[in-house]
Point group: C2
Chain length 337, copies 2
């Protein structure tokens, strides 16, 4: 399977690392031979139909800051769309930066690949949260697969889990802690008794929260994931503007202490149900599967037969997210074999 | 798919209830037409190649205490082995009582069905914990499937989860809370400050612990599940006698309080790793996925790429366990289609 990787930030580099580490194992275990035939970043591309060396790609990116320095096969000033035309590939790995205003340019990349009858794997929440139906329909019409496990919960395998492990059950609703940064902040507020502002500042210094933390703390990131879960698992047709969103920036230490005295914690919870499509701070009971701390993500499926079934995993991390992308690639390969 | 259900206790009746509830849905969703052609209990059987009515089976069992009162098709004093010869079925549902001394008579039932080229789904831990390799080899040699999701963690889908959702990862070890009764007792000891003896007595009165609680509190039940996980997921060849087992009956309130003061809880943890095959009380951190209370079961897979991935679910319950059995039936049907 030949991959074209658009974007060579943390996730794109994670994919290269994971492929380098696992290539022989994938061949032995599944008969899957993975080649990276094209990679782009904001400055250019490297394209080679025989396959680029993932270790050399990582080394060159680290040293020169651009993949177009790749010997012999580097190309400066080429657009992603030109690369999609020029490269010989079976599956697009769309891992350019997420935009939640219009989902671009990722949406255009994905639609182009689909129209060209290529499979697509992405971690990019923007196009999925804004144009899920359009993308899913295009994939179906063109007879290709569009997979996006990494877009929700990083290495927490919620989509495959919901689709594959409980065939006897109907999923009636989904509740989740879908953003690691806010879970980290709320957990530390509960443990240390410090204010939101203090913990946010420290989280930014530690690189856990971003310099502009709005998308995390105002709940937008979690809302994108709510949309993806609603469309993918619950068969709804919704997008970002349909979600009621309240973030955590107004949570006081007093509210957390009051909850704690009664055996509860405050968590930022995403809900997908027939009654609600929302992200908001809510009380969860200590000792429940939602009482996890740190940057962990959690999702509970409420089912008709098995009651609540919950999955917990790391919500972020370059290698962890890349592992979800590789799982999607393997899954596409298995169904095509 | 024609089912022969051996055993009509809580789990067997759960299977009948779930099939009654979901039969039309399974037909619409998967094209799977399920018929129960034989059911047994300790007093006899009901056999009908055209299919028995699950609701009538449940009604008769409730009213008369035996399935052999089923009109026209009831048979008194027939052994399970005779039923396996007489019935027309595709898949054995083995849900007779668990025996952990020699795994009988379930083991003989399962081997007979396998030799007769029938698929097998079971929740019966005994034969799996004592003779896993023998049963798995027999199934392989006869070209049939042997599935047992319900034998570990009831409605917590740990086996399907480990096999299906993380194809990019190697599973390096498994840690789990695999017994609901002990988790309930330890959780209440931590919350209420009462002694082990007090809480055990109350749990017995509430029907959560059995009159003879030894298999749960001494760790044997959890050890059976450790063996199944080790063989099924980690490819080991071990059985019950290979597990180091320490139960919870010697856990004092003082130990729990000491742990609590440092932010820890004491849980009965099963471990499968290259270093250990064991069940023992261990400290888990508050705020970790293991800090769940009540009768919940938890299992964490330590992976090479995705770090820790955890699944939580109800460890027992008639309908919940039956839902895992139905999921196995659907999975067998899908691979044969």
């Amino acid at each position: 399977m030949k991959l074209c990787i658009l974007g060579f930030g943390a996730v794109g580099r994670g994919v290269a690392k994971v492929i380098s580490k696992k290539r022989d194992e994938m061949k032995d275990k599944y008969g899957l031979d993975i080649k990276i035939t094209a990679v782009t970043d904001s400055l250019g591309a490297a394209i080679c139909n025989e396959g680029l060396d993932p270790e050399l790609l990582l080394e060159i990116k680290e040293k020169n800051g651009k993949v177009s320095s790749y010997p012999q096969y580097g190309i400066n000033n080429i657009s992603n769309m030109e690369v999609l035309d020029k490269a010989n590939y079976d599956c697009l790995i769309e891992v350019t930066p997420t935009d939640i205003e219009d989902g671009e340019p990722a949406k255009t990349h994905i639609l182009k690949a689909i129209t060209d009858k290529k499979e697509v794997v992405t971690s990019n929440k923007g196009p999925l949260a804004l144009s899920f139906k359009e993308l899913a329909t295009a994939a179906k019409e063109n007879g290709v697969q569009l997979k996006y496990e990494a877009s929700v919960g990083g290495a927490m395998p919620i989509l495959n889990f919901a689709h594959d492990t409980l065939p006897s059950c109907n999923i009636e609703s989904i509740f989740g802690i879908l953003n690691g940064t806010t879970n980290y902040i709320l957990s530390r507020m509960a443990k240390e008794g410090s204010t939101y502002e203090q913990i946010l500042k420290e989280s930014q210094e530690m690189g856990i929260a971003e310099t502009n933390p709005a998308q995390d703390v105002e709940g937008t990131d979690a809302a994108c994931k709510v949309v993806i879960l609603a469309n993918s698992i619950m068969g709804k047709d919704v997008n970002l503007k349909d979600v009621d969103v309240v973030g955590i920036s107004k949570i006081t230490q007093e509210a957390i202490s009051l909850a704690k005295n009664e055996g509860y914690l405050i968590k930022l919870i995403g809900e997908v149900s027939d009654d609600a499509l929302q992200v908001s701070p809510r009380l969860v009971r200590e000792g429940s599967p939602f009482a996890v701390d740190g940057t962990l993500n959690v999702a509970t499926l409420k089912t008709d037969l098995a009651e609540d079934v919950t999955v917990v995993g790391k919500g972020a991390g370059s290698i962890e997210t890349a592992s979800a992308i590789l799982s999607d690639i393997i899954s596409i390969y298995k169904t095509k074999k």
